[in-house]
């Protein structure tokens, strides 16, 4: 396959960026999207050009690093996958593919397609954890929790913090990311001690980072590689109102 790839090139966080067009030849349909970028970068290096900076790590869909906005959608045209799980067979010979970084004021571009997702880390630092000592691995079924709640907590826990929710939201809202962590820990017995303060602190940090508000378009869940449900956002809202109404943090 021969493709035209239009990529956002930006030298550093201070400089202005622009879209640059590249021709990529002899692309195998079995390559992953990132492997196609590897081929393009090899070509650029051999010509003495600066290779395109992009985030990637595990390349098996569990680390959440590969943040590319491909042809107008987070992680490209397929749902339920990350960029590394997108294969070139999803495109046609002769296609033009537009690749941009996540766009959000809370995710500043560092270089080319690499954005700083430190805002997510700071939200987790604000309350996305359990402080009580949970000990070693417990015996199976030793913790009193229903199967329904355990499954829902696990579904929420599958969030890999990739930021596709922010990237695809028209308001660059981080609601789905924050809601997933709040839901996971609010459902688990270990999370109860800090339940109210957690939602208050994480939501406050989300605001401080400059993410937008949720308009309930549902775009985040559609683009989420782990298909995390809108149920979590409703749960976060309930947790937030309950915490604000009843917590002793004045």
């Amino acid at each position: 396959m021969n493709l035209t790839v239009k990529v956002w090139r930006q030298k550093n966080s201070k400089s202005e960026g622009k879209m640059v067009s590249y021709n990529v030849k002899d692309v195998s349909p079995d390559m992953s999207f990132l492997e196609m970028f590897d081929v393009l970068n090899e070509d650029l290096i051999s010509k003495g050009d600066e290779p395109i900076a992009f985030d990637h790590d595990c390349r098996e869909g569990i680390c959440g690093m590969c943040s590319m906005y491909i042809n107008g959608r987070a992680h490209g045209p397929k749902t339920g996958i990350t960029t590394c799980q997108l294969h070139m067979r999803s495109f046609k010979d002769g296609d033009t593919i537009v690749v941009e970084p996540w766009r959000a004021s809370a995710f500043p571009v560092i270089k080319d397609l690499v954005v700083d997702r430190g805002a997510f880390d700071r939200i987790i630092n604000a309350g996305g954890f359990v402080s009580v000592n949970t000990g070693g691995v417990p015996d199976a079924n030793a913790i009193p929790i229903s199967k329904i709640d355990a499954d829902a907590a696990f579904d929420a826990a599958t969030c890999i913090g990739c930021g596709a929710c922010v990237a695809s939201c028209k308001n660059a809202s981080a609601s789905l990311f924050v809601a997933a962590k709040i839901t996971q820990l609010a459902l688990l017995p270990q999370g109860q001690v800090e339940r109210a303060s957690r939602v208050e602190k994480m939501v406050a940090q989300m605001e401080a980072e400059g993410f937008g508000a949720c308009t309930n378009t549902g775009a985040c869940s559609v683009e989420c590689p782990k298909e995390i449900s809108q149920d979590t956002i409703a749960k976060m809202n309930r947790e937030y109102y309950a915490a604000k109404a009843s917590s002793k943090n004045l």
Partner: protein
């Protein structure tokens, strides 16, 4: 009460206010539609009597302030949230395909809401202002409605506005419940269907009355 104003000043608090005022305004739409049905009675006496009751009853007068407050809060918070949301993404995408992941209605609440606001201003100027505020109306409100809706461009403008109201309600109705956290596998499918039905039937009901007066009566 510092905790309350703080809780309501964040994204989640502001959206809570949007959803509550939205649901309140939805309840008003239903009341307004039911009373408009009196326009279909060829004798205007009932409609005029109803209008007189609405104009003079002290409870209604108080409720009117609450209603205007509901509109103003809903509009101001929409503006505040929109500005914040724009700031969250100062640079947009060169190529974006949001239709793949969300409905047009959900992404354009600001547009549909603004159009409904323009309609609302024209609508208040046609009926509420001359009959209630300035008392400059030279005829009964029933006669005024019949003459106003007899004007084809005005009726078509009214009908177009009802389409935009339908777009706004189609997302707004179910979105309000989601924002309130009222989501449950037993009830949410029903709420969504009810929202779509409401968004179609209520604006259609509003639009049918001037269309009837203009073209059939």
């Amino acid at each position: 009460m510092g905790w309350l104003s703080k809780a309501l000043s964040g994204n989640l608090g502001q959206k809570l206010i949007m959803s509550l005022t939205g649901l309140f305004l939805i309840s008003f739409l239903l009341e307004h539609l039911l009373s408009n049905l009196l326009l279909l009675k060829s004798d205007g006496a009932d409609f005029n009597a109803y209008a007189e009751f609405m104009k003079t009853n002290p409870v209604i007068q108080a409720a009117e302030y609450v209603l205007f407050g509901g509109f103003i809060v809903h509009i101001i918070y929409a503006a505040i949230i929109t500005v914040k949301n724009k700031k969250a993404r100062p640079q947009g995408y060169a190529y974006n395909k949001p239709s793949e992941n969300s409905s047009w209605f959900s992404r354009n609440m600001g547009l549909s809401g603004s159009m409904v606001l323009i309609f609302l201003i024209v609508h208040l100027k046609s009926f509420f202002v001359p009959h209630k505020i300035t008392n400059t109306a030279t005829m009964t409100i029933y006669d005024d409605a019949i003459i106003t809706f007899g004007n084809v461009p005005y009726t078509l403008f009214y009908v177009a506005a009802m389409f935009l109201l339908a777009f706004h309600l189609n997302h707004g109705f179910q979105s309000a419940f989601q924002t309130l956290g009222l989501r449950h596998p037993k009830y949410t499918p029903f709420i969504k269907k009810l929202g779509t039905a409401f968004a179609i039937l209520v604006p259609a009901g509003f639009a049918a009355i001037p269309l009837y007066i203009c073209f059939i009566r």
